[in-house]
């Protein structure tokens, strides 16, 4: 087993920087209650400290309610990261279960489950989320997490099913079955460990995408909202009057872009090191999965 440090050293410079930045951002966000100079909704001085440009006292400036933007961005990152991380966890659990059941059951169950999956995949995620969030408006934060989670597991289910189908043919599964193991036991004891690694990788890398998705929803006013404002909410808030006070949109937006960029850099490196045979194909993630399915059914 190579040590973590040795592995880290073998990565190229860009990937290392991206990893470090991600760790710093995660730490800063989760330490927000400790390191943030002010509260996220604290109005410092509505007369004297309104719309202040960045300065030493307020590195990111203040907004039109005289709130300290650095503190707000720290808390907003916390909200964005928590929502996205929890949502991809929900997706991972639901998708893994669905894919495992389809692969273990096989036959008609598998066909029906996969057709249903096709139908679900054909509804554009953004539009579905917009519709649901608007119809149930206002949606509490935990519900937003659940919604992002249950609209994001389709690709995971496909991945898990494909991996589990391959694992099902192995000898140790046949051995377990001949020893009288039940379908449920085979599913969790023998198939699950085999699909876990790719699920964890795709799940982790999806955090960046979900942050953008949530930010987009918040940007049109139906995602996270005060007092639990996310980076997207703040970016939207900052754009309201942004020609004069550019810092209001720049810093929350900048953090979003940084996080996503880092996730993509790490993702590219991870995928090409997992699958050096084809430097490119796996990089595409979801869409190659689609391609794979298309060519798999075709062969």
């Amino acid at each position: 087993m190579t040590s973590a440090r040795a592995r880290f050293g073998r990565l190229d410079a860009g990937t290392r920087v991206a990893l470090v930045v991600l760790v710093v951002i995660y730490l800063a966000a989760f330490l927000a209650p400790v390191i943030a100079p002010y509260g996220p909704t604290e109005q410092l001085d509505i007369v004297g400290l309104k719309n202040q440009a960045p300065s030493f006292a307020h590195p990111f400036g203040t907004d039109r309610f005289s709130r300290d933007l650095l503190s707000r961005v720290l808390y907003g990152t916390l909200v964005s990261l928590s929502v996205a991380t929890l949502a991809v966890l929900v997706s991972a659990v639901v998708g893994t279960l669905y894919g495992l059941v389809a692969a273990t059951a096989g036959g008609v169950v598998d066909v029906v489950l996969m057709r249903a999956l096709d139908a679900l995949l054909s509804i554009p995620r953004v539009l579905l989320l917009i519709a649901i969030l608007a119809l149930w408006d206002p949606v509490p934060l935990w519900m937003l997490v659940v919604l992002l989670g249950i609209t994001g597991w389709f690709e995971v289910a496909r991945l898990v099913r494909a991996e589990a189908l391959a694992a099902r043919e192995r000898e140790y599964v046949a051995a377990a079955r001949s020893l009288g193991a039940t379908g449920v036991r085979i599913m969790f004891r023998h198939l699950l460990p085999n699909v876990l690694a790719p699920v964890i990788v795709t799940t982790a890398l999806n955090v960046g995408n979900v942050i953008v998705l949530e930010a987009g929803l918040s940007f049109v006013g139906i995602g996270a909202r005060e007092p639990a404002a996310s980076l997207g909410t703040m970016f939207q808030d900052g754009t309201e009057a942004f020609a004069g006070t550019w810092w209001g949109a720049l810093f929350p937006g900048g953090v979003i872009v940084t996080i996503v960029l880092c996730f993509n850099v790490v993702g590219d490196a991870l995928r090409s090191s997992l699958d050096p045979r084809q430097l490119g194909a796996a990089r595409l993630g979801t869409h190659t999965a689609h391609l794979r399915v298309a060519s798999a059914t075709a062969e």
């Binding site: 995949l121 054909s122 953004v126 917009i130 940007f219 049109v220 869409h287």
Partner: protein, 321 residues
């Protein structure tokens, strides 16, 4: 081939049925209905009357049947916001989205495929790495963020371009033909640039992956062995085979062509399909929201269907099966 088309068509129908059911259930499960808004002039009796008029007092199964029947006949309901049939509302916005998206998609497919070939051709050189990095950077930008930054840059700080809309709201009717055309173009530049940048990055990554996947193939080795130049190996031999995944990509992009990009349209106030949906949501225009979801799903299904058929048409290995 015919059998494949038939099977795919059947799948598409099933998919659409499931989507319609989901859309119906969403509406029914959601709290309230179009007549539950607060109003002092609306008495309980009037509300009940309105509901009965719309058929909302019938059993759920009957409502479902009528919804499906109407949808099949192309009747998606009546928009409360615009006071016209939903289909008409969609038809009035569709050309705007189509204009923007067809331009954006053609440009990005052209740039994307060129840059993809360029990046792979020079993959070990500096130019290739720069292309690669730049692509990844643009690929990572959220669409609404890039749209706003361009807006800020070119409409506020260096005010050379209009901030939104399709034409100048005041002066356009009084312009001569040439001036009017220039006015339209000016309004098109920013949304078109945003979309083209993002889509190009997407396509470059796809094209690059497809090319790299084709490179270890035997025919590439044969081509190299008989002395074909590296440019021709990639630009001709690998490129043709890398075109197949482009079909899938085109299928995936198809819904974008008609559905538009919600966030970009919002930022530039482009009066297309995406804006229509957002407006519908802000005033809770239920039939319009649901129609939008269903139309979008139909587009995705149609895109996949067309891609599958095109794939079979282009790739004999699939066709002969």
């Amino acid at each position: 081939m015919r059998r494949l088309v038939a099977v795919r068509l059947l799948h598409a129908v099933v998919v659409l049925l499931v989507v319609a059911t989901v859309a119906f259930l969403l509406i029914k499960l959601a709290p309230g209905d179009p007549f539950s808004y607060e109003s002092t002039s609306l008495t309980a009796e009037v509300r009940a009357q309105l509901r009965a008029q719309a058929g909302y007092d019938r059993p759920l199964l009957e409502q479902y049947g009528r919804f499906l029947g109407n949808a099949v006949r192309g009747d998606l309901g009546y928009s409360q916001l615009l006071r016209v049939p939903v289909t008409k509302a969609i038809a009035s916005r569709l050309p705007n989205t189509l204009l923007l998206m067809s331009l954006a998609l053609s440009l990005s497919f052209a740039f994307g495929m060129l840059l993809g070939v360029f990046g792979v051709r020079h993959r070990d050189a500096r130019a290739g790495r720069v292309t690669d990095r730049a692509t990844l950077f643009v690929y990572s930008l959220p669409d609404f963020w890039l749209a706003l930054m361009l807006l800020l840059l070119f409409a506020y700080w260096v005010p050379v371009l209009p901030a939104g809309g399709m034409v100048d709201p005041v002066m356009h009717p009084y312009m001569g033909p040439a001036e009017a055309l220039w006015d339209r173009l000016k309004h098109l530049i920013l949304p078109l640039t945003t979309l083209t940048l993002l889509l190009t990055a997407y396509i470059v990554r796809y094209q690059r992956a497809a090319l790299l996947e084709a490179l270890p193939a035997d025919y590439v080795r044969t081509a190299r062995a008989k002395g074909v130049s590296e440019g021709a190996v990639i630009g001709r031999h690998a490129f043709r085979n890398a075109l197949l995944p482009m079909i899938t990509l085109a299928g995936l992009a198809f819904p974008l062509l008609l559905g538009g990009a919600v966030f970009v349209e919002k930022v530039f106030s482009w009066p297309g399909m995406g804006m229509l949906v957002l407006t519908a949501i802000s005033v809770r225009d239920y039939p319009l929201i649901m129609a939008a979801v269903m139309v979008a799903a139909a587009m995705v299904t149609l895109g996949n269907l067309l891609a599958d058929i095109a794939y079979a048409w282009a790739d004999p290995r699939i066709r002969t099966r």
